[in-house]
């Protein structure tokens, strides 16, 4: 069900409103269909203080994911997960009062066509979309279709992105700008990369849009540190590893709550 308070532009309005209260933003990630009752994780994230939730639609050949998210995707697909089934699961959920952001590779968007894909996301109550293999210069085909469907297409920026391109990404991204903290794949890291602060500062010089920092942010300390540079963080592999290790929704609620507290302490 679509949350009636979250119409088009909902992700950005929601994140801006929370940021403006001085809150560090938190977007945990989980791979759709990873366990039989996977939507319980979303409830747990919301209860633990998530400001948005990223739901991965698994793809057979992820080219930007490290071993944890890869394994999660294969696990979900082996269980019979598909875009259709994951969106059906989401449609059956009560409102969480936080926007849902889908993420997947472009092949799955093209499979049904951008229009049908975005319409299906919208029907399932999804407000945003991240496509890691769709850089800004290839995004024309999806940008307008997504906007017309009320889906905010968030673009990624990386430490290697040069200035003019960064400006284009910042201006064309919707919902937020996804700052990739390091030159690497998704996955837990021992420390926050030095490139994270620099990239965030460069993005912020050109836009007031919320900036979420992702890739490698694994611990409350790293979240706190990232929160000093960006408006918030995306935490994926650290969450998913716990799910793969058998952690239930209550365990994940406790983990996400530690991230929440770390971000709140930073304020």
């Amino acid at each position: 069900m679509t949350n009636p308070t979250l119409a088009a532009g909902a992700v950005e309005r929601h994140l801006r409103a929370r940021r403006d209260t001085g809150r560090g933003l938190l977007m945990p990630y989980v791979t759709g269909g990873i366990t039989p009752g996977w939507t319980d994780y979303l409830r747990a994230f919301a209860a633990a203080g998530a400001d948005a939730i990223e739901v991965g639609l698994p793809f057979s050949d992820p080219t930007l994911d490290g071993v944890t998210i890869q394994q999660a995707g294969h696990t979900a697909l082996a269980r019979g997960a598909s875009t259709r089934r994951i969106l059906a699961d989401l449609s059956g959920m009560p409102d969480l009062d936080v926007p849902l952001v889908a993420s997947t590779y472009y092949n799955l968007v093209l499979h049904d066509g951008p229009e049908a894909f975005c319409a299906a996301l919208r029907r399932a109550g999804v407000d945003g979309l991240i496509v890691p293999d769709l850089p800004v210069h290839e995004a024309d085909e999806l940008t307008e279709v997504a906007a017309a469907a009320g889906i905010e297409l968030a673009l990624l920026a990386s430490p290697a992105t040069p200035e003019p391109r960064l400006a284009e990404i910042s201006s064309r991204s919707r919902g937020f700008v996804y700052a990739v903290s390091l030159m690497g794949t998704t996955g837990e890291r021992a420390a926050l990369a030095a490139s994270a602060a620099e990239l965030t500062a460069r993005i912020r010089r050109g836009t007031d849009r919320p900036v979420l920092l992702g890739f490698g942010i694994s611990t409350p300390d790293q979240a706190r540190e990232a929160g000093r540079h960006a408006d918030g963080v995306v935490v994926g592999a650290a969450v998913v590893r716990r799910v793969l290790d058998g952690a239930g929704p209550d365990d994940l609620r406790a983990f996400v709550a530690t991230l929440r507290r770390a971000l709140d302490q930073e304020v």
């Binding site: 793809f59 057979s60 050949d61 992820p62 080219t63 930007l64 994911d65 490290g66 890869q70 294969h74 697909l77 598909s82 875009t83 259709r84 590779y105 472009y106 092949n107 799955l108 093209l110 499979h111 049904d112 890691p132 293999d133 769709l134 850089p135 800004v136 210069h137 290839e138 673009l155 990624l156 920026a157 990386s158 430490p159 290697a160 992105t161 040069p162 391109r165 990404i169 990739v180 030159m183 690497g184 794949t185």
Partner: protein, 401 residues
């Protein structure tokens, strides 16, 4: 064969097999669907390649390497006994006679020289049959570069000889244990690795796939097959140009290089795919490994596993230019089975004294099947690229024969 598009009149087509259109497009295919972290690296490769390809010094250095180290030009061999039996005139473009034993070396030496020019000190590569890996390891050794080669575990098992060759040449071979443990997974892993290594490493893609400029660049480095064959046909054939130009297609690099020499002639171009890896003949529009092209997919849009006895054809898609040539009707894409390919390999061995790679045997299998009675009229002249030699496949063949 109902899923194969019918022939159109094989006239030269403007813009075919030249430089891609804006944003690396061949028709609606191609592009640069790479993670943002790789876009700048692709742009650098594009700029460096354009500059190098326009530089006579670079071209001269590559030509010297190809002559002195690879053994180019490779011969055009008339397959006399087989031609007589089939009722067609079959000529073989002998890429199996290159140093390292396959056409892969043409592209790799070009990219390795480019990497040196760009100041990179390491090559990253993926390999299926191992031929591209061996070529990469060879070029790295020759030019004093490091090489890291990703290879699916399943391919490592069936291509043990090539794995040994790569290691002997000093390359690091990294087993890939994800997915089907074959070429597509090795390619994904190589791309993931490149994301973290763009500063000092060049990703040396082995076929006409990947983000722009790779499909174009690799085709240009392989164009030498077609250009040489064009000249050789002009000298050898009464008609000057063969009626048919045939090559096997996995990603499609030897076929693209061969076709490029004949795209502006009336020759009919035929790409032969493995029955279980027929991206051009049976694929659907999609995006994988950085380009928009035709890929084998299930009803949910997941890429499906390709199956072929030839590891080099075990790829679920085809390069974007092949997808475009298919749509134009300029090239036709057909399939043969594992059994047909094995039968063709044996027949070539026994009639011409040449053991072909199982990949190349697919192209030959189509010629054998269609000669005289099918799509290949009696008396036709046929140029077929023998993309590699069969040494690497003898253990596979030994189990079957």
């Amino acid at each position: 064969m109902q899923d194969v598009l019918p022939w159109r009149e094989p006239v030269p087509l403007d813009g075919t097999m030249g430089e891609p259109r804006a944003r690396g497009r061949f028709g609606e295919y191609g592009g640069r669907y790479a993670p943002e972290s790789l876009v700048e690296a692709c742009r650098e490769v594009d700029g460096a390649f354009r500059e190098a390809w326009a530089d006579p010094g670079f071209r001269g250095a590559l030509a010297r390497l190809l002559a002195e180290h690879v053994g180019r030009p490779t011969p055009l061999t008339p397959a006399r006994r087989l031609s007589e039996a089939l009722g067609v005139q079959l000529y073989l473009k002998r890429e199996d006679l290159t140093h390292t034993g396959s056409h892969k070396i043409n592209n790799v030496l070009g990219q390795a020289l480019l990497a040196t020019r760009m100041g990179r000190r390491r090559l990253i590569a993926e390999t299926g049959a191992g031929q591209h890996g061996v070529a990469t390891a060879t070029a790295a050794a020759l030019l004093g570069l490091e090489a890291t080669v990703f290879m699916g575990e399943r391919d490592i098992e069936r291509q043990a000889l090539n794995v040994f060759r790569m290691r002997m040449l000093g390359a690091e071979v990294v087993p890939v244990t994800t997915g089907s443990r074959t070429l597509k997974d090795a390619t994904s892993e190589a791309m993931r690795h490149w994301v973290g290594a763009t500063g000092d490493s060049h990703y040396c893609i082995g076929s006409v796939v990947g983000p722009d400029p790779y499909p174009w660049m690799v085709r240009e480095f392989q164009r030498i097959i077609g250009d040489e064959a064009r000249g050789q046909c002009a000298a050898e054939l009464r008609t000057g140009v063969p009626d048919y130009v045939v090559a096997c297609v996995g990603g499609g690099s030897n076929a693209a290089g061969t076709f490029a020499g004949f795209a502006d002639t009336p020759a009919r171009l035929v790409g032969v795919e493995a029955e279980g890896g027929a991206g051009a003949a049976r694929g659907r529009l999609g995006v994988l490994h950085g380009c928009r092209s035709l890929f084998l997919q299930d009803d949910d849009g997941q890429i499906t596993q390709a199956h072929s006895i030839a590891a080099g054809l075990d790829y679920p898609g085809v390069g974007p230019e092949h997808a475009h040539l298919r749509d134009l009707g300029r090239a036709r894409y057909v399939t043969v089975t594992d059994d047909e390919a094995v039968g063709a390999a044996v027949r070539l061995a026994r009639t011409e004294g040449i053991v072909p790679a199982l990949e190349s045997a697919h192209a030959l299998a189509w010629v054998i099947r269609e000669a005289g009675g099918g799509d290949l009229p009696a008396g036709s002249t046929v140029l077929m690229t023998l993309s590699g030699r069969g040494d690497k496949d003898v253990s596979t063949l030994k189990e079957l024969l």
